[in-house]
Amino acid sequence: MILKIIGCSHHQSSVEVRERLAFNPQQTFRFLRKFYDAYPQSEVVLLSTCNRTELYAAGQSHDLMPSTEEMELFLADSCGVQHSEINDFLFEHANEQAVRHLFAVAASLDSMVIGEAQILSQVKQAYRQAADLNQPMPLTHHVFQAAIRVAKRVASETEIHTNRVSIPSIAVGVFARQIFERLDNKQILVIGAGKMADETLKYIQGEGGRDFVVVNRTREAAVRLAEKFNGRVADWDALSDQIQNADLIVSTTGASQPVVTLQMYQQIERGRLQRPLFVLDLAMPRDFEPSVGECLNVYLYTIDDLQQECDRNRNARVGEWPKAQKILDQETERFMRELSLRSKGPTIQRLKQQAQQIKDIELDRLMKRLGEVNPQQQKEIEASFHRIINKLLHPPLESLKDEAETGTTGLLDALKRLFQLGD
């Protein structure tokens, strides 16, 4: 069984690169379909968040799945970019390294803000999206379930999530507080009505924000979000007017093009009378053209701008890091052992079945020769045969388990040949 990952994350690539490789749910669905059409024997999961785009592929053997380069080309092609443009920003992991990476991602140990809660739900969502295509995905199921288990274990056994600071909480609690003394008298405009908007509004409300206006292309989603926070809904067409009145904007749409261009803002700017405007562009790709941030009294922050604060956050939690790392090591080792055993499972099963068959045949033959045997004696004979089989199989099976821990397959191959078990 093989597991491979290619992708980019905030560690290696800038927001400009990541936004070119970002997928919204519809694009993810199309991508997965296309991938299965091209590589029907593979399993695939695509994780696309604001900080990473990662393609997980699994298969029974190298022949049945795409090579790393093919995966990269497929990703580049799907995003409409040249492979050479993104090649330097992509990372790749395989097998144990890939498992460890996924565990770290799910446990939020690889996040921009260590310990943030969102990533686990995003990992679950990515897996669910792949599973919705009804393709058999035994290996990815196994590894993603393990990743969720590891994330929960890290959360419960370490304090790495204590006082955790998510991107929205850093944006609101740290940066908005440097601009505004109070939020209760500010008009807060939310562009987009997704999870990130929801999460950010929780923090804004916690800091005293009350006056919310939600603008979204899909009005129903906007209504839901506005109702949750006692806010108002405005039409998408009224976006310019709302920006003109806003003090704080949280933008989290899944739009592939900027929602607010410099030209658009310049038309609004005059009407704002130079009131300070704090824009949290948490969308990927970005919703605001970066040049809007150059305008007078506009403070435009994107996800990347939170990077430094996140790094410091990471450092502050460094004390908990070894503990979390230890869990990651243990779980990766455990998973690889299980995986190895799983791969040996069919062989072991066949060996046991073969032994069972031999036992049954020989027992049957013996019973016929012995004639009348009382039930107690018959039971003793059967138990004796059973013990012989078990005692004979125990050493080779133990050796196989030992081999599973080392990750080699020499003994398995030898066993298949010795007992003529076939593939």
Partner: protein, 310 residues
């Protein structure tokens, strides 16, 4: 209580200097007891400062002059007002590094006062008149608010620049929010304009009264009067601009207004110091007998330079 007479400028100047150094260390490391230490040092300095001002005023009122009418008295008085403002900021915004901006101004004022000397300017009898007191007090507080406005304006620009450059905040210290700095600067602009306006009008009144009773007055073309009038007109224009033109109330524009006001004040100081205002006193006193033109109204006329009218 004789020991109180032993309090010198060094006592409170040193306290403020130590407090400033302690404030400076906040940038580099965390120390749980430091805030108590700063509070202690500042309060000790404030006590010494207040005692010094009270005793000096008492002593000189008993004599021939008014301590607050001298350069040193005026500077120490302005510094004292800044310390009061600093204590208020420490109470309202304990986590901010306002001390790094306010305390240097305080130390500079004390240094300037020491350098310029305690030469008396106001005869105590004159100082006790109501309009002179209003004139002096409003100009003193007005000047302190202009300086404070400069401090907050500078902090606004620094903070605004940091946020524009997207620099993460320090975990050790932080700036007040832009909104708070803007509102405070705006309020200081209003207060300083009103106070300097009151100072100007009361100065005019003093000069008119002096003229009527045949005392010496400042000529209306005195550079101090002209520069003080310019400072007041500038503040008035700033205030009106701020009230009428809404964008001027936003962001950096307020900071630029208070910063420019401070520059005017510095120019005013320079004129008072170097225009030879004080050296004309004997001439004025001679004229006083002949019912010379009016004493200065404005701002700076109350500065030590005001010895004229007195």
């Amino acid at each position: 209580m004789n020991w109180l007479y032993g309090i010198s400028i060094t006592c409170f100047a040193a306290s403020y200097l130590v407090a400033f150094c302690l404030e400076l260390t906040r940038v580099f490391f965390r120390a749980p007891l430091r805030k108590y230490l700063i509070n202690g040092v500042i309060l000790a300095g404030f006590f010494a400062h207040t005692t010094y001002l009270v005793l000096q005023t008492q002593m000189q009122l008993a004599g021939t002059g008014l301590f607050m009418g001298s350069w040193s008295g005026w500077c120490f008085g302005a510094a004292w007002l800044l310390i009061v403002a600093y204590l208020w900021i420490r109470y309202r915004q304990p986590q901010t590094l306002s001390g790094l901006f306010v305390l240097p101004m305080v130390i500079c004022l004390i240094g300037a006062g020491t350098w310029l000397g305690p030469e008396l300017s106001f005869p105590s009898a004159r100082a006790r008149t109501v309009w002179n007191a209003v004139h002096g007090l409003s100009l003193l507080v007005g000047t302190a608010t202009v300086i404070l406005g400069f401090v907050f304006g500078t902090m606004y620009l620094v903070q605004s620049s940091r946020l524009k450059k997207k620099r993460p905040p320090s975990r050790l210290v932080r700036y007040p929010s832009l909104e708070w700095l803007q509102e405070t600067s705006e309020m200081l602009l209003l207060v300083s304009t009103v106070l300097l306006g009151v100072g100007l009008l009361s100065g005019i009144l003093v000069n008119v009264i002096n003229q009527k009773i045949g005392r010496g007055v400042l000529p209306w073309n005195d550079p101090v009067i002209i520069s003080s009038a310019i400072l007041f007109v500038w503040l008035l224009i700033s205030l009106l601009f701020n009230l009428v033109y809404r964008p001027a109330r936003q962001g950096r524009k307020v900071a630029y207004l208070v910063l420019t006001s401070f520059l005017f004040l510095v120019v005013e100081f320079a004129i008072v110091l170097y225009a030879g205002h004080a050296t004309r006193e004997p001439e004025l006193q001679e004229k006083e007998m002949a019912g010379a033109p009016v004493a200065a109204a404005m701002g700076a006329s109350q500065l030590p330079a005001c010895r004229e009218a007195g």
